[in-house]
Symmetry: C2
Subunit: 343 residues, 2 copies
């Protein structure tokens, strides 16, 4: 039952004109007489013509598609970034093709290869945590495919633009906020130590403590090693239960850690924020509905997507043969104050 699609040729034949004229008319080229254009449009509509995007792409050498590779779908940070990208590129007549690398290096390579097959005009990629080498990305760039990296970039890649947030600084400012409020026993709940983001957020904590001459107390530091939520929950619960000292503030490197901390602290009869204040990191919606609502370092995720898109479109537009210099954009974070810090 699959009907043959109407093509330019069909319209041309009916109208007794050439395919080229039909093509131009449909493109609203000024090089075709208005009356002809009208005729073509009418006929195209009447015949139910729909251009063949594939043929167009093959012929024009561009697909108007942008490939986006994120480590996972089920993290709202990435979804927000994608929304930001989509928001920007749609204004420039591009669509996005999102792939998940499922935080696997191999899968990231596969996705990249897929895009390398010419389906996309450019690529926006967030390297997975597993990614340690960057030759697969360099290879893409060497083939002349415009590329922008965002968020988790462990190594600079020349030829690609980078969009980042300053994790260190963000973390520093959260801890500084506590210190300025007179907090002394500030717990730091970090993540797996070999992830760069977590290292940076940790160093921000250390630097803030150092700047204000507060000695580091190892007992107040926990680096979570767990991979899933259940485990994390246990790890954090256990930590606070065994903690001999009474902290007056808790800074965690994710919102989830923040909420889990509040959960167990409440059970341990702490009053939040009176006895202990909590700041999380991320601000992806859940912290807002939690009771008490969670103050956190807000990552500009949507904006990050927009900015990445902007840089990519810019590369796409720039027809010059000269290679782009690598541009690095660092986005500002801000703290969103809520109940867990008494706001």
């Amino acid at each position: 039952m699959k009907k043959r699609r109407v093509k330019l040729e069909d319209i041309a034949r009916k109208l007794n004109i050439s395919i080229a004229t039909v093509s131009r008319a449909l493109d609203e080229s000024p090089r075709v007489k208005p009356s002809t254009r009208e005729k073509v449009f009418r006929m195209a509509k009447a015949m139910g013509y729909m251009p063949n995007q594939i043929a167009k792409s093959l012929s024009s050498g561009k697909t108007n598609l942008i490939g986006v590779i994120i480590p996972r779908y089920d993290e709202s940070f990435f979804i927000e970034v994608c929304r930001g990208i989509d928001h920007y590129v749609s204004k420039h007549n591009y669509k996005i093709l999102i792939s998940s690398s499922r935080t696997s290096f191999e899968s990231e390579q596969e996705n990249l290869s897929f895009f390398e097959k010419g389906l996309v005009d450019g690529i926006i990629l967030c390297p997975s945590h597993e990614t340690e080498t960057f030759s697969h990305i360099r290879s893409i760039i060497n083939k002349g495919i415009p590329t922008v990296l965002f968020d988790n970039i462990k190594e600079e890649v020349s030829g690609a633009d980078h969009v980042l947030i300053d994790d260190n600084k963000a973390s520093f400012s959260a801890v500084e906020y506590f210190i300025k409020k007179g907090k002394k026993k500030i717990v730091f709940i970090g993540g797996i130590k070999d992830k760069k983001v977590f290292q940076d957020r940790y160093s921000g904590y250390l630097e803030a403590m150092k700047k204000y001459n507060i000695p580091i107390d190892e007992d107040l530091i926990l680096h979570c090693n767990s991979l899933d939520r259940e485990e994390e929950d246990l790890e954090i619960s256990k930590y606070f239960k065994n903690l001999k000292k009474r902290p007056d503030a808790v800074f965690t490197v994710t919102d989830n850690y923040g909420m889990m901390s509040m959960k167990i602290l409440t059970k341990l009869n702490y009053n939040i924020p009176k006895d202990v204040e909590v700041i999380g990191f991320g601000d992806l919606g859940v912290g807002k509905v939690f009771v008490p609502s969670l103050t956190c370092v807000a990552q500009p995720s949507f904006e990050m997507g927009q900015k990445s898109a902007e840089l990519l479109i810019d590369q796409l537009k720039d027809e010059s043969d000269e290679k782009h210099k690598k541009r690095v954009i660092t986005l500002e974070t801000k703290i969103v104050f809520r109940e867990s810090t008494g706001d």
Copy 2:
């Protein structure tokens, strides 16, 4: 700096064989001598050959891409569905192209038109809440593009398969659970009345009450009209504050309503679950970390994606010209018990 890509012709020339042979060799066709195939593979690798997907698609008539249209990115239900789809189709060598209709009918049409341009081999679509007419979908189907609809289907569309959950039944069973536990004053918090899902969830409530001869008390029913979270929060807070009776159970048509209800009920000095039990609808992750954790009707979102994908792949595989009969799959929901019902 954009280098010309290596193509079949380049390999053929180097090896002094025809393009056709190279193409076949790379396809692992049995119609090419193993030794030749070896040579071709080696050369292809050496030259860094990457097939051109666009050319392939134009020539073969298939793109191995599946278009997915969801109402919005920022709802984990849809993201889960997409994950389910991706999970299934990737086993069949397909990729998905996700578009959001931003819950706008117009945008849904636009997205569909985009897919109609031949970029995708099939379409999986969740109609937006705004969508009242279905001719745009019928038009796609008439063009012979395999289509599967899921979730919010107000009207049956012949030629497309449907994947649904039984909202009515799911809702019924949640309310029935309360009733069997001896609850009498069961609050129902619904959503905007003209959305089919919400109507169905409402009728499930009514039916359960009727079956067990519990009179309907209008005071215990609220249909939220708000469009954003802040407003919803206010609406629900106000409702409970003004409620003269003390309910012993609350059933809400979304998880969010459930959590907001718990929040205000706790403030009003209800103990959950002792004084009042709460069941939400959705189960998309947040209810689990909330305190108390929220019991809810779990929508099989991932499964819904998988099933939709399965039906689509099935249509794609079926080369017969005969039109598919419309298949309707109804997926089972289940209740996930947590603290808000004392579990």
